[in-house]
Symmetry: none
Subunit: 196 residues, 4 copies
DNA sequence: CATGAATGAGACTTCATTCAT
DNA sequence: TATGAATGAAGTCTCATTCAT
């Protein structure tokens, strides 16, 4: 029957939602399984039917939320493209800036997923989401048009994303050594240099 | 004969050494205070005479080891300079490469200090070590010679270090998405671009 | 078969019994949670399922035992009333004497509950036990028959009980400044004075 | 030499003062030896040169403060006697009321010494202070004038003090079951009854 | 007498995980 | 599948007391 399967999915989601709320509110280490099942309204044992342990839940939440944000950014980029012609540099910077600004407004979320939101999401041939894959391919193609090999192109994209991620986590979460507004001009200037 | 003050310092060091060994062997979370004091050969209460808690010890170890490594790299650079003339680009790449190769050979140490070995160690005006400060000033001066302001120069240095740190942690600790040998050429190529 | 709810109550009681035995044998401060759970035959965590901490257990035991003793005294009074006619003074003194003699024979118990077995158990309008309430009301009524207001009557009863409690704790537990047999005549003489 | 002996007494006093302040501020259980020696400005080991342990200190402080308060009350009584003729009942009630009001204004002190400020201070033949002994003798004599034996007189005094102590500790420290102002009239009324 | 670093037993509590129902 | 009572190992930290200096 369909209902049973749907109920299961619902419980899974309730646990993920409860976990997400608690993790960003109290931190991962300060959240215990009891908190999660209480908030989700299920019994303690039920948790272990759906997740191996707390860190399994963390990983699944992280993956879920990361994909959500990236898809949002790509969606916005698509919208913008319809309104004005954008060259490659403009597109990359728009995409990056969208992510950066998003996390600036969602620090709690950034704190949670930073450990797992690695640039790897955008790399390799193992990207799970087709839309995402298409977007990455488009970016990569642009690098290749400049004479890079496929691998060089992929690596360049990865390095840029890693750089932005590292610098912006510092800036947003700790405002050290520079706040986001302080570092942005130099950061974007350097990205442009890399895109030449 | 040892003075009382020397004995105290010795105990401190013994605890830090014991902690370091255990942290890199078993991981921070799997190391308990009992392990540390047993290995250091002191009583449990003694630990709390010197450190607030386990994480205080972690932080002090991290700082200690980070400074040690950076000082090593600077020392090697100094040696090299005596042997051959080096321009700015060469010096920066030598310094970076020394750190990268060092951590490649000391993965456990990298795992431990990565969280705290931030690029910040090299930034700002609050650098604690005079030798380190001098070296950073020299690097910064080179960027300023290219027409950047002091702040731009400092930020550029910070961003490069952050980029290298992020990429190399992935490469060394997880070999994902690229191993160190795979990513190095592209990484160094991009650094050179940024130094132009 | 036992129901789950009955099993829970049983565990609670086992913990209270174990705690009571240990507290009167070794004292509260010298009894540790480990002792209690070991004696009760449950796991340590189980203790915290039923009680907030050691002092929560102490309080619950105290209340439980106090009510038990008072109910005993009232029961005996009831029995006695059937055998002979008793005026108010006689009843009060019988009730008091029962408690005093009981505790003389149960010094350990007195030591445990003295801190919490306050005269308050017999006062105010918040008495939890209906039988107890009825008995108190009867006593109070007698004072009111002598022309006191309700509050005066309640306060007089409270003061007598407080006086007896204080003097007898000294006498029974420390035999200082007077032993129970030494002080009793004067104490009861003074009570009679107060009842006039 | 005199100085050495005086220095010792000074240290003793500093420790007692520090202990008293901390005990009434933080409570006995929450005060550790470290707090005391730090506040007194001596080394930890020194504490054990003067006191067996924390509870030894508590007892000595309690005795010291109790005597101080009682002497104050007797002094005030003496003053009052000079101004107006007082009969026995008036004197007893004045003395009691002075103590009660004093503790009402020094709840912290009451909390500390209640456990040890027993009526015993005023009883027996072991009173250490000569002034106190004289005053107690005078009170006792009055009871004997009414036909009581020496022991009855002493016991009556003891019982009254115990009663007042018990009731007023409840009233002042917990305001339960009655506040001081609520219970005072009935309490003093009953004392007068006992003095008849 | 005075010091204070060192001791280490032991206290309390937490919480991931299991398993009988 | 779902439950939640029970588990008990593991963990951190405290603090009275000692003793070499």
């Amino acid at each position: 029957m369909e209902t049973a399967s749907e109920k299961k999915k619902l419980k899974r989601l309730k646990l993920m939602d409860a976990g997400y709320d608690l993790f960003i509110t109290k931190g991962i280490n300060n959240t215990v399984i009891d908190d999660i099942v209480k908030k989700a309204g299920v019994a303690k044992g039920t948790f272990y039917l759906y997740f191996k342990d707390k860190y399994d839940l963390v990983n699944q939440i992280t993956l879920h939320k990361s994909l959500f944000v990236i898809r949002e950014a790509l969606g916005e980029l698509e919208e913008r493209r319809k309104q004005e012609a954008m060259d490659f540099e403009k597109e990359i910077l728009f995409f990056i800036d969208y992510l950066v600004e998003f996390f600036q407004g969602h620090k709690d979320m950034l704190k949670l997923i930073r450990k797992n939101f690695s640039a790897k999401l955008l790399c390799g041939d193992s990207i799970s989401d087709p839309d995402l894959q298409k977007a990455v391919d488009a970016f990569t193609q642009n690098f290749m048009n400049k004479g890079e090999t496929l691998q060089q192109a992929q690596q360049t994209l990865y390095i840029i994303v890693a750089m932005v991620g590292s610098v912006c986590c510092d800036a947003i979460l700790e405002e050290e050594p520079y706040s986001l507004s302080q570092i942005k001009p130099t950061l974007y200037f350097l990205i442009r240099k890399l895109l030449c």
